[in-house]
């Protein structure tokens, strides 16, 4: 049984239909990528999962109906790193990390994870007391990831993590995500415009076009797929 399953999910902004019936799944321990042009509905799809937009259709997580309020989705074990990272710019790095663990009740576990985050992301350790808004783009991306990990989620949703970042920073980021997936079995659903790195880092992928799934398959297949290559990989 997949960890996350979407069946016929639709969503609209007023009169505008952003999603017209999405079927998608993520298995436990998988990294799944979602590609598509601007306006294809990728961000809306993540919002549908984290219940920050009204949806119709079936959303099932770990065998149960996914709650329709964002706080409850977070408690169910899904961490959503939104577009623009969603860090609290006026709060310090330390406070941002502590907020990530808001849903958890195991104090010793939180402390242990906190120390691990600082180890894994030494930059954050250096800037612990600084306001999050003063960090560079790449550092904020690390902070956003660390904060989401503090939640100890079963599923991580990433919305365009490469946006505004230098290529080297982007590869490092995806390397960390890959490592987390391999070593700790973290499941990831990543929405990306940067198709090449997304396909290189994921096991399966979907391509969205105008609110629908246009192509689906393993990432290897998509990398060879004629129209995907032309539209999204540029060759």
């Amino acid at each position: 049984m997949p960890l996350l399953e979407l069946r016929g999910v639709a969503a609209r902004y007023g009169a505008l239909e952003a999603l017209r019936g999405i079927d998608l799944s993520v298995d436990e321990g998988e990294i799944v990528a979602v590609l598509g042009a601007n306006g294809a509905g990728k961000t809306t799809m993540l919002r549908a999962i984290s219940a920050t937009v009204k949806t119709s259709g079936e959303l099932v997580f770990a065998g149960e109906r996914l709650p329709r309020r964002p706080e409850a989705v977070a408690r169910a074990g899904i961490a959503h790193v939104p577009e623009g990272r969603g860090t609290f710019a006026q709060l310090s790095v330390d406070e941002n990390l502590r907020l990530g663990a808001h849903v958890r009740r195991d104090r010793p576990g939180v402390k242990a994870d906190y120390d691990r985050m600082l180890q894994r992301f030494p930059i954050l350790a250096d800037r612990r007391g600084q306001a999050a808004g003063t960090l560079s783009g790449g550092e904020q991306q690390q902070l956003a990831l660390a904060r989401a990990l503090m939640q100890r989620p079963r599923l991580l949703l990433l919305d365009e993590p490469s946006l505004g970042l230098a290529p080297r920073v982007v590869s490092e980021f995806f390397a960390v995500v890959g490592e987390l997936n391999e070593r700790e079995g973290l499941s990831v659903l990543v929405v990306e415009q940067n198709a090449s790195i997304a396909l290189a880092s994921s096991a399966r992928a979907y391509v969205l076009e105008v609110g629908r799934v246009a192509v689906a398959g393993t990432s290897a297949e998509l990398q060879r797929h004629e129209s995907v290559r032309r539209s999204y990989l540029g060759y």
């Binding site: 964002p70 706080e71 969603g86 006026q90 709060l91 907020l99 808001h102 849903v103």
Partner: protein, 300 residues
């Protein structure tokens, strides 16, 4: 020939001004709390404080001591604030801010009217919180009441600061006020943090009213209205989106108004209020963000 300054007198007036300022600060912080959580100024804040004070007065009339009534009333006001938010404010949570503002205006009428309905309009007086004897420090006589009020206000502010800085719930409330959408993604129940904010604000208002009533000698159902005006002035002076600013602004305003009243002879009570209004206008014209608020984006 230099004029001899009566330093003792100035010191007494400064302390007295800080005492008034402490009261204004309680109400000002309450206003800032709700403003930062919801973007709305709670017009009924003063009347709620007044209502709490009347409840406490009733307790003292039934044999409870001042401080017992104080604790019971502050706790009850906290609960009442939460209840109010859940019943009256939550339904309009998703509506434009102006709708909520009008609801607080309606609340103003309700609470003010209820106070007249429940208690008679004759003036009342509250037993003293502190001893009325003066105390000598460095040879200058100060009122214990003034020092006591300053102490209680500062303690309240300190407790609040500790709560927001060091507790999980306090951090969640700050986050919810800064960025409700991101907060929800982290699992924070933003709606409840707003209720909690109302609870704290109403409790603070109760503290303000309870500290203000005894020194007045006698008070009636309208007694918090001037204090609300001073609280606004203090909050504007300090920066309406900064709790620390509200405290500093209110203390400064208290001292300023007191010195003005003492040393400028033609300033009576009416003029004190006018002076507060003038402070509001001058700050808004010169530097709307106040001393510590975040700078307002000016020209496009």
């Amino acid at each position: 020939m230099p004029v001899a300054i009566d330093w003792a007198g100035v010191a007494q007036q400064v302390v007295s001004g800080l005492s008034s300022g402490g009261i204004y600060a309680m109400l000002a912080v309450a206003l800032v709390l709700i403003y930062r959580a919801t973007g709305v100024v709670n017009f009924a804040q003063g009347e709620l404080a007044m209502f709490s004070t009347f409840v406490a007065w009733t307790l003292t009339q039934h044999g409870f001591g001042y401080w017992t009534a104080f604790v019971v009333t502050v706790l009850a006001s906290f609960a009442a604030g939460i209840a109010l938010e859940r019943t009256v404010i939550r339904p309009v949570e998703r509506s434009p801010v102006l709708t909520t503002a009008i609801v607080t205006i309606g609340l103003f009428f309700i609470v003010n009217g209820a106070a007249f309905w429940i208690w008679s309009p004759e003036v009342k007086s509250m037993p003293n919180a502190f001893s009325t004897r003066p105390i000598r420090i460095a040879g200058v006589a100060f009122s214990i009441s003034d020092l006591g009020i300053i102490g209680v206000s500062l303690l309240a502010v300190l407790l609040l600061w500790l709560f927001f800085r060091f507790t999980k719930l306090g951090l969640a409330m700050r986050a919810a006020a800064l960025n409700p959408d991101s907060s929800r993604l982290t699992g924070i129940r933003v709606s409840w943090t707003i209720a909690l904010g109302w609870g704290l604000a109403t409790a603070l208002g109760a503290v303000a009213g309870l500290l203000a009533a005894p020194p007045l000698g006698s008070f009636d159902q309208n007694f918090m209205q001037p204090i609300l005006l001073y609280a606004f002035a203090g909050a504007v002076l300090g920066g309406i989106d900064s709790a620390l600013g509200a405290v500093i602004g209110s203390l400064a305003l208290g001292v300023f108004l007191n010195l003005l009243g003492t040393y400028v002879s033609w300033v009576g009570t009416d003029l004190r209020q006018a002076a507060a209004l003038a402070v509001i206008l001058v700050v808004l014209l010169v530097r709307p963000a106040g001393l510590l608020g975040t700078a307002v984006v000016r020209r496009v």
